[in-house]
Symmetry: C2
Subunit: 333 residues, 2 copies
């Protein structure tokens, strides 16, 4: 049963969650190399909040779409699409510009390489919660960070969906995971997800705790979306030859380069977004296989925090901004 | 003919070049694993100036020795030394703490792994001018930077001995070399040494020039001892996926981490000193072979700027601080 019109979320100006407007737009047909999806669930990401606020890597073009993650059923395919067919149950991988292809809608169109089947043991709510988080974490820890068994891996802001995915992947690879969180309320949750150590940064000293945990050797691999002045501390707790991968800009203060720690310890500090993986056919194929198998084996398991109905999209954004969540925020249609 | 006393340079307080004192000390015997050298020439490095000023990676312990590079003849060996023998003509590789082993002296002792023969086509003045510069450049460009044929490589502060060594190594590896220098007076010299492009930063815009030279693709590999605010510009001119290797702290201002360029382009920014190579037996062996063969083939050729007699050690330091030099400053004994 095809719908002729699609409720779609767009915004016409930079601003807080209230700028999101639910609009009814005609459904269009996929062009060559594109796939149309009848959407069942949407994953909410920090990236969409940043786009809405004019703080993201790309700028909105008004009226701007938004959204990277949807799950649903393929209901039309463009010319030359061979990897999926009508009726396939799939979810989307962020290989595209969300200003152009944003998936906050009942019916959305994405490029063929953004569409992937997810394991049958997952619901559509779980299916929309996997690629962004797990490919981001896989690319950093495995592809770039070459994580090794028994490495000490430090995951900051670890209650986010990427943070949780990172804990699970690091554990699956045999590393010791140190997770940070601001308040004590999320500590037990992070231990339950698999962190070996949790540092509550509002009450504990990061540098002292990591020295104690690692017997002063420091963390081999650090995966951080915060940046700002914390980078100095991260460099201080990094091991000799350690790597710090920055993947966000949550802090509002400027980020100093920790020159003397970097020189003394030969540190690598790396900027990273998952597009480095999703824009490379070979790396993306490896990433998809890694994530798919991990999910099938249930070594990886998406943590769903809360589900909102589509009409409550503004509340879903506000909830993410409140930083209360432990895992993925999903919207169902 | 063995000398019984050794004129040795030490300093007893932090300060300008005048704190360097020429002292006559008794000659001691090498301990197990050590080698004694009758010195013929010394290479002067920025590191010694920084140590004297209390700005170096290690702190002086008074009275402090200094100096990393000497060439001369082995005149005594400690127990279990097997790789060199009395009478060998050698020069030193900085594998050691210069506070402990500093080589500014007529007779000096260093660990066995710091001693290497240099190619016979070099004089003792050239022989003392090779390991610090070429191993530093090799480690960054080849070992860490994985320099490729046709890469655009940007070398800043390129008139230093490490800068010149980097130009030669990058050319030998088939890269296009862009060298920067502050004033126009060193431009022709840098072209003669092998730079494909020279940017005179006092008069030319780094960002515009590199965009023009690389057809907007940016520099694949950047090797910089300056740091400070220039790091923002270096990130701006780096290519997608590019690497910036920082190996010094010549700038006096603080160094910002170029977060948005790093995220957008997936940049790697790396702290580095040659100790990363010299403290690793396997990497050091590869580095020595690379440098030795390059010198034999004359693809690598140390540029000697000026030679001072040992008594003029203070003037040699002052001359380095004047930043007039193009290549190595050497002191002969």
């Amino acid at each position: 049963m095809k719908i002729k019109k699609s409720k779609t979320v767009r915004f016409h100006e930079i601003g807080n969650a209230d700028v999101l407007k639910m609009e009814t737009l005609p459904i269009s047909n996929p062009k060559e190399g594109e796939v149309r999806i009848k959407v069942e669930a949407l994953g909410i990401n920090r990236a969409e909040i940043m786009l809405r606020e004019g703080q993201y890597l790309e700028d909105p073009v008004f009226p701007s779409r938004l959204g990277y993650e949807a799950s649903g059923v393929v209901d039309a395919v463009g010319l030359d699409v061979t990897s999926v067919k009508i009726g396939d149950i799939i979810s989307t991988i962020p290989t595209f510009s969300m200003v152009q292809y944003g998936v906050y809608g009942e019916s959305v169109i994405v490029p063929e390489n953004a569409v992937a089947k997810y394991p049958k043991n997952l619901s559509s709510i779980e299916g929309t919660s996997i690629w962004m988080a797990y490919i981001t974490a896989y690319g950093a820890l495995v592809e770039i960070g070459s994580i090794q068994k028994n490495d000490f891996v430090l995951i900051t802001a670890s209650s986010s969906s990427v943070g949780l995915a990172s804990i699970q992947i690091a554990k699956a690879e045999g590393a010791f995971v140190i997770a940070t969180t601001r308040g004590a309320d999320k500590k037990q949750f992070l231990l339950d997800v698999g962190a070996d150590f949790v540092i509550v940064t509002d009450h504990e000293d990061l540098v002292e705790k990591i020295a104690a945990i690692t017997n002063k050797k420091g963390a081999n691999l650090i995966f951080d979306p915060i940046a700002g002045s914390i980078l100095e501390s991260l460099a201080e707790v990094a091991s000799k030859g350690g790597m710090i991968i920055e993947y966000g800009a949550l802090a509002s203060d400027t980020t100093p380069f920790p020159l003397f720690s970097a020189l003394e310890k030969g540190l690598t500090i790396r900027g990273y977004t998952l597009f480095e993986i999703t824009s490379d056919t070979e790396k993306l194929a490896k990433a998809k296989e890694f994530v798919f198998k991990g999910l099938q084996r249930e070594e990886l398991k998406p943590e769903i925090d809360r589900v909102f109905p589509f009409e409550k999209i503004i509340e879903a954004h506000q909830y993410m901004e409140s930083n209360q969540q432990k895992g993925k925020i999903v919207v169902t249609i």
